[in-house]
Subunit: 305 residues, 2 copies
Amino acid sequence: MTDSRRLSGVLSPVVTPFKEDLSPDADRLVKQCQWLLSQNVGLAVFGTNSEANSMSVDEKIELLDALVDAGVDINRMMPGTGCCALTDTVKLTAHAAKLGCAGTLMLPPFYYKGVSDEGIFANFAEVIERVGDESLRIYLYHIPPIAQVGFSVDLIERLVTRYPKTVVGIKDSSGDWDNTFAMLERKWDDFRIFVGSESFLLANMRNGGAGCISATANVNPAAIDKLYQEWQSDNADELQQALDDIRDTVMAYPMIPALKATVAEFSGDQAWRTVRPPLVNLGAEHSATLAAALRENGFEMPGLS
Amino acid sequence: MTDSRRLSGVLSPVVTPFKEDLSPDADRLVKQCQWLLSQNVGLAVFGTNSEANSMSVDEKIELLDALVDAGVDINRMMPGTGCCALTDTVKLTAHAAKLGCAGTLMLPPFYYKGVSDEGIFANFAEVIERVGDESLRIYLYHIPPIAQVGFSVDLIERLVTRYPKTVVGIKDSSGDWDNTFAMLERKWDDFRIFVGSESFLLANMRNGGAGCISATANVNPAAIDKLYQEWQSDNADELQQALDDIRDTVMAYPMIPALKATVAEFSGDQAWRTVRPPLVNLGAEHSATLAAALRENGFEMPGLS
């Protein structure tokens, strides 16, 4: 089966800029997305790192419309659309599909814990049937450390078997390579397996994976894409090591505030530091220490302004 | 400080009826709320047991309007209004306050895990300031087994100190009596501490608590209220034991589907069995077994139709 719409490569769960009053800042988001595209990194807007679940469905729809209106390439876009409420997920997913987004990244409903595979399957079936759009391409979003609810390999197989044209991939943010490998081994037809951290990018590519969708792609996009492009080269292990060093430097701080502080420091635009509660901005001191540690590593964000 | 709006007693996190197409059934909800009030049990609509997080904010607003339009007593109402997104929480809370609800039961934002007390405080401060309604009375909803994010005793103290007229109580669904007791010991001025299970009702009342908000109050309201009324009587321990027996019988099954199956069996209205994904209806066989076990215990739901 050939499906030209399916995505591969490196995507960034794009951090969402907020104004002083904590409302989403569409202009800054457009600019950031265009910069990421210039680094050859796709746009998983409304991911965990985007503080997507701290925004209402209507706020996300407005941002999505603003991106499309600004001409940001819809073919590189995989917005997160999975919410707790069935009706919210349907509304946001239908909108993304109607706009023509290449795919959507879908969390399972994550309030109720210990739910059955049968219940999650029923949820996805309802969403797919209600959206009723043949252009819909769903990438499952497996992030048990945060969502607590996830996708077993058997559940994925059930979804792929029932909806082979719609359930086309997964982002595995379990942080557990054995889990990623168990999915890769199933070799579902053209199923796109993304790791949720570039730490596993080389391993993923060597085993038939599709790429990665990683927090750090917000700040280190070109280098991550370089490994994606050159994973078969002789120096791939060195490229991987260099990525891990940058990642470790950033991850020494609370992830989302650290990403935003890094964008702020390297763009010179301090407005980027703002997060929505319940997150807390990285303080000025930690921001400076983080930026200094990154610069020591030779890190830069060329073209960011 | 005297505040006649503050609630005490027994409240039910009212199960939400859904139609065949999974849309909320306002008429059945009104009827159920009126029955619960006839049993002297208050209305914590949109709680965990209400599948509240499986509904959009707009669906909850419509249901709330329907209850008020039907004349359901707003002075006995404590709708759940805490969502992941700041803007959703503000919208729903402002609506509940404007309608005149006695209180609102507020989850912390629950997607991001391991967030700081400072971040949760900032979230509640934003909600309170944005709603900007002096009639607002917030009961914190502490349910770490499901939300994973909760309120430390120090955070509660900080909120009560900063907003003494607004943050007026808590529902403790930790299932950990030591945690409830630690809060009771602080003796915050007229702070209403509800336990999240009637198993702790007697202990709570003996230590200055305000009552309970419990799943089982959906099906066993009168008996739970009786213990609340007679906790100082000689047979209080026996009343407690009888409540525990009924609770254990129901909790042998998945909680929410079991509550709905019980309402369905004892009202004769099978439509009550429907749950929204990711939950799964209790099957006919389990429903029958559960109802038989309850009847063996002498259980009934008088006046329910």
